[in-house]
C-alpha cells in the first residue's frame, strides 16, 4: 500500500493545493521546528566566540549586525519562532481536547498573529544603522 505505485496523475505534488488548515499547520510546524533546530547550532557557534574573550564576542556580533542579510534573517527567525510558539499552544489545546472544532480557526489566528508581530518587528530589526 505505501509502496510507491504509479497511478500517473493521481498522486503528484500538485496535491498541496488541496490541503486543509490542519495539514498546513502540521507542515509549517515541522518546517519551523527544523529551522529552529538549525538556528540552535549557529546560535551556539556565535555565543561560543565569547570563550575567546569579550573583545572577540563584541566584534563578532557587530560584524554580523552590519550585514543586511543577517537583519533579514533575524526577521525570518522571529517569524518562524513566533509561529512555532503559537501553533505549539494550539497543539497543546488539541492534545488536551479543548476546542477541537475550532482547530482551523486557531491555525488561521496564529498565522495572522505571526504576521502582525513580524511586521511590527521590522523597524526594530532593520531600523538601526548598518554600522
Amino acid at each position: 500500500m505505501s509502496q510507491s505505485y504509479d497511478r500517473g496523475t493521481v498522486e503528484d505534488f500538485g496535491r498541496w493545493r488541496e490541503f486543509s488548515a490542519g495539514m498546513w499547520a502540521w507542515i509549517f510546524h515541522k518546517f519551523t521546528g527544523w529551522v529552529l533546530v538549525g538556528y540552535l547550532f549557529t546560535h551556539i557557534a556565535v555565543l561560543s566566540t565569547a570563550l575567546g574573550g569579550a573583545e572577540l564576542y563584541t566584534s563578532t556580533l557587530q560584524g554580523l549586525e552590519a550585514l543586511l542579510v543577517v537583519r533579514f534573517l533575524e526577521v525570518g527567525l522571529l517569524a518562524v519562532a513566533v509561529f512555532h510558539i503559537l501553533n505549539g499552544v494550539r497543539l497543546l489545546m488539541v492534545d488536551l481536547g479543548v476546542g477541537l472544532e475550532a482547530q482551523d480557526t486557531s491555525f488561521y489566528a496564529s498565522m495572522v498573529l505571526t504576521g502582525a508581530i513580524v511586521v511590527a518587528s521590522v523597524p526594530t530589526f532593520l531600523g538601526g544603522p548598518l554600522a
Partner: protein, 294 residues
C-alpha cells in the same frame, strides 16, 4: 436508470412458433443487431438533447490491468445531463449505463449507509452518493481513493483497511455476562451519548485514505480502526479488564501515538465523526492509565 433488461421479455414467447423457418442462432443474431441499432439510436437521440440541457463534465480515472491498452492510467471525459439533487454516484451510474459499461465502481445502498462508494472527488475523499454535483466545481474529477492499490478504474483494494479494522477487535465483549446470558445489557444515556458519534462509522475508508501517516506507515491502525477501538473502550458495560486489553492494543507503537493531529480524517469523514478528538481522548486515556505518581 441502472437497469437495461426491458427488451428481453418478448423473446421467449415467439421462440417456439417460428423455430422451423430459420435457425435459432440466426434469429437471435438478427434480434441482437436490431437491439443494438435501437440502443445506438436511443443513445444518439439522448446525446443530441444534451446540447440544450444543463450538463456536467466528469473526468474519471480509468485503469484496467487486465486489458492491454488500458494498463496506462488515464482520465476519460463523460458529459452527463444534470438534474436537481444529482449526486456524484448518480452521474457515474449514468455514465456507465449510457456511455461505457466497462466503467467500474462500487456502490450499493446509494444513501451513505453501506460505505462502498468512497471516492476521491476534486482532490478530497467523499462518498459518491452523498456528494451533490451542484456543490462541486466543474469539471468534476473522480479518482479512486489514494494510498490504496487500484484494482480497476475506481475500485481499490480494501483488504488492508479491513485488516486494520479487525486488529482492534471491533466487537462488544463484556467481562461479565448477565446471569441468563440473553438478558439485555443496558447502557446509561450519558455513556451512549459519549460513544454515539463513533458508532456511526460505515467502514468506507475515506479517513484512512486521507491520512498522511497511514500512507507512510502500513502498520498504523488508522483513524477508522482507532475510532472503533474508542467505541468499545469507552463503553462502560465492557468492564475494566477488557478495557485494559483494548488500551494495550491501541497504545502500541503503531497505535494512537502515530497520529499527528493533521485533522485530515475529521475533515473528510462523510459521517462527521470527530476522529481526531477520539484519537486524542484515547491518547489521554492511555497516558492516565500508565502514569503512576508513587
Amino acid at each position: 436508470m441502472s437497469t437495461r433488461i426491458e427488451q428481453r421479455e418478448t423473446e421467449t414467447d415467439e421462440q417456439s412458433e417460428e423455430q422451423a423457418a430459420e435457425s435459432l442462432g440466426d434469429r437471435r443474431r438478427a434480434e441482437k443487431r436490431e437491439r443494438k441499432a435501437e440502443q445506438e439510436a436511443q443513445r444518439e437521440a439522448e446525446e443530441a438533447t444534451l446540447d440544450d440541457e444543463e450538463t456536467v463534465l466528469l473526468k474519471v480515472f480509468r485503469y484496467d490491468p487486465e486489458v492491454e491498452g488500458k494498463q496506462e492510467p488515464r482520465f476519460d471525459d463523460f458529459r452527463v445531463p444534470f438534474h436537481k439533487g444529482m449526486t456524484v454516484l448518480d452521474a457515474l451510474i449514468y455514465a456507465r449505463d449510457t456511455y461505457d459499461s466497462s466503467l467500474t465502481f462500487r456502490h450499493s445502498c446509494r444513501q451513505a449507509v453501506c460505505g462502498s462508494d468512497a471516492l476521491f472527488v476534486n482532490g478530497s475523499q467523499m462518498l459518491g452518493c452523498k456528494t451533490q454535483l451542484a456543490d462541486l466545481e466543474s469539471p468534476v474529477r473522480i479518482e479512486p481513493l489514494p494510498h490504496q492499490e487500484v484494482v480497476k478504474d475506481l475500485v481499490v483494494d480494501m483488504e488492508h483497511f479491513y485488516d486494520q479494522m479487525h486488529a482492534v477487535e471491533p466487537y462488544f465483549d463484556a467481562d461479565e455476562l448477565p446471569d441468563d446470558g440473553l438478558e439485555e445489557q443496558r447502557q446509561t444515556r450519558e455513556n451512549r451519548e459519549k460513544v454515539k458519534m463513533s458508532t456511526r462509522c460505515i467502514w468506507c475508508g475515506a479517513c484512512m485514505s486521507s491520512c498522511n501517516i497511514a500512507a507512510g506507515d502500513n502498520e498504523y491502525l488508522g483513524p477508522a480502526a482507532i475510532n472503533k477501538a474508542y467505541r468499545f473502550a469507552m463503553d462502560e458495560r465492557e468492564g475494566e479488564r477488557r478495557k485494559q486489553e483494548r488500551l494495550r492494543i491501541i497504545e502500541q507503537e503503531h497505535g494512537v501515538w502515530r497520529c499527528q493531529t493533521q485533522f485530515s480524517c475529521t475533515e473528510v469523514c462523510p459521517k462527521d465523526i470527530p476522529l481526531t478528538e477520539h484519537i486524542q481522548e484515547l491518547k489521554r486515556e492511555a497516558v492516565k492509565n500508565n502514569l503512576k505518581f508513587w
